[in-house]
Symmetry: C2
């Protein structure tokens, strides 16, 4: 077979381990020099292809590529840019084809969530129709853990580990102080559509009374009175109450609590953040001194405490994507398969992009306890292995040393893109 070039792009919200997938892609591609010429990475994701801003990863030394494994966020840049149908986004697809042809790109590896897998699938189909077939492989990534078929999504395990550790540590702090000071602590976590991340924080609670005491899920309509009763009984029983709240929690009207500024439920304008709203509600109604935290990007960027399992899986799906392409597969995505048995073992499987694209995996109802405020044993069984193992980055002068890339752009061959 002849040699052709490979294009890799990162898409959507980044994670602590998406660069580990990039590392897996590039390191593996370098093992096929007869078939894969240059690995280009899109500068700022797919937008880099449209703008013909192709980072020549061949210019990066092996040590820099290896360092991607322990570097958080998107080393080549990511973007929020969704290609729609062929008709609606015809100009974009035409441009992609033109850039791919101009740079002899026959492999397209797209590292993202459901939208990205939809795009990759469309490119695969279109390229055949256009007579310039491109092998398209998806690589799963999302802290939201909402891709179908795969047992879990790379990126999720590390944010899960971060939130579980954080609430355990903050919980010890509150337990120390609750006799004379803070009695209620609220930590807001990501997950606008599903409670995967909030649920994983529940792992920190191993015995009766351990933080977190209450988890507020997007899947459970917020009931002000039931919640306040639960907080009060928790403080009565344990002396304090720690709460993990998903940013996606909704009120009875179906709106996000965080968007219900000025609503009856709270009677306050609010600049955003559901944690301060919940904390204020507790203070006003129950009078407890409170503190609150919003981890925001800290949680998904926290490579310093990434899950070793997550890092391994992120690297493995990157590697598998290249191996799939070399094996002649197309329009598929490597997935993580949980093997049966009491001990956690996983392997790499594959899923057709058409079955992955635009399907959102919900958290099972069986993962939420009957009272709606915690996780079940089934949830624990699912979450527990995903946070296992530590994979510390190297440190210098007390700070993690993360990869610094040269990011040399390939020479342009086409007129400038004016569309994005």
């Amino acid at each position: 077979m002849s040699q052709a070039n490979l294009f890799y792009a990162q898409s959507g919200g980044v994670t602590a381990v998406i660069n580990a997938s990039a590392c897996g892609v590039i390191e593996t591609a370098r093992r096929f020099p007869q078939r894969i010429g240059t690995v280009y990475a899109g500068r700022n994701g797919i937008v880099g292809a449209l703008r013909e801003e192709l980072i020549d990863t061949g210019k990066e030394p092996a040590e820099s590529i290896a360092a991607l494994r322990h570097t958080p966020a998107g080393a080549f840049g990511s973007c929020r840019y969704k290609l729609k149908s062929w008709r609606e986004s015809a100009r974009e697809y035409d441009r992609l084809m033109a850039v791919f042809q101009a740079h002899d790109i026959r492999y397209f590896l797209y590292n993202g969530g459901g939208d990205s897998q939809d795009t990759a699938n469309k490119v695969a189909e279109l390229s055949i129709a256009r007579g310039f077939p491109i092998t398209c492989i998806g690589i799963p990534k999302t802290v939201d853990n909402d891709l179908p078929i795969t047992d879990n999504c790379p990126g999720f395990g590390s944010v899960a580990k971060y939130v579980a550790i954080s609430i355990r540590e903050a919980g010890l702090d509150v337990a120390s102080m609750c006799d004379s000071s803070t009695k209620v602590f609220v930590m807001e976590v990501m997950g606008r559509h599903a409670g995967w991340i909030a649920g994983a924080a529940g792992l920190a609670s191993e015995s009766e009374g351990d933080p977190p005491h209450i988890i507020l899920f997007p899947e459970v309509v917020f009931d002000r009175e039931r919640f306040l009763r639960k907080v009060r009984s928790c403080v009565d029983r344990h002396g304090f109450c720690t709460i993990v709240v998903s940013e996606g929690v909704k009120g009875p009207d179906g709106r996000f609590l965080s968007e219900a500024g000025g609503s009856d439920a709270f009677g306050h304008a609010q600049l955003g953040g559901v944690a301060p709203m919940i904390a204020e509600l507790v203070k006003q109604q129950l009078g407890y001194k409170h503190h609150w935290a919003v981890a925001d990007y800290l949680q998904r960027a926290a490579r310093h405490i990434a899950s070793a399992t997550d890092v391994e899986q992120a690297h493995a799906v990157g590697k598998a994507a290249v191996e799939f392409a070399m094996a002649g597969k197309n329009a598929v995505m490597p997935v993580i398969v949980r093997e049966p048995g009491a001990e956690y073992r996983w392997s790499i499987g594959e899923a057709p992009l058409a079955e992955v694209a635009n399907v959102e995996k919900k958290m099972p109802a069986a993962y939420i306890s009957d009272d709606g405020f915690h996780i079940t044993a089934a949830a624990r069984d699912y979450f527990a292995p995903l946070i296992c193992g530590e994979d510390y980055p190297p440190y210098e002068h007390g700070l993690p040393r993360y990869a610094h890339l040269e990011s040399v752009l390939a020479e342009r061959k086409l007129p400038a893109w004016t569309g994005a």
Copy 2:
């Protein structure tokens, strides 16, 4: 010399390493069985002495005491309870004396900030006046880093490391996304009266353009227009802007921005938190998409990424406190002395409690850059060694294993305390 008992208490806001000081105290006291009988720890700090709730640490196995070295927060409980002058708090001082006499406590080790050292000093004086002399030794602790004489305070180095790592990681996240999404990220850190913690976050910025780009200090009056100009120029230059804001930032009227709800400056009611206010200001005035985080207790409880230097120093001051007592010293506090020379070396010195009590060490003006938005080289020289080294706790099932104590209370000998 005859044998007597020792009372140890934790005071005020807890830290990631105050238990390392407790570990140093108890392990060292166990090396003097001829002179130190039982080490009692106050349940919830000094309140435990008033209530005669004395935890008998002799009931804890050596492994549990050793585990305190890697356990965050206050294992015996802390409190916010300040004893005032002898006249104003006469009942409390009388009660302390009664409890100490009833339990033959001749050593009082108080682990806290400036208020606590004041209390320890008063107990030392009073005990002599009452003819029951008690050796009183202070042990420094505070994330605020505001105790005088000591070069730095145990607890500060770990929070400094956490905030520097967090803004570096979140900064990489924003850099990845800024082309099409979030351009401004605001992280709020502790430090109501001084910018020590905010300043330490500046360590993450090692080269031009590295996050954090802007630091807002309590020492610098917030100037809305200058700030907005700085943000805009940063986005123009780097594509994004990361901001660390101290919770103690004040406006021109001298009030905390976080308390200026509904003020002219912002025109919004606000439930608390200066980060969302700053983020909203940027959005309204400059139109940039923003995210914000409030680390709150997460930063001071983050034992998972504690500074090894901080852990060593926290343990050392606990150990030194017992050694001081054994050497016949009284009304002193071990301090950390920075030795002269290019390479960082430290030793333990001592300071009279009378000179420590109620004196607040400000951050030097020379640590803040001329434009008021960053730290100077002098600040870097000061902060850098304090975050050096990693001291990871042990993990099980992906989560840190922190100490669990039995906390057996000594038998009561006095009537119940009715005052607190």
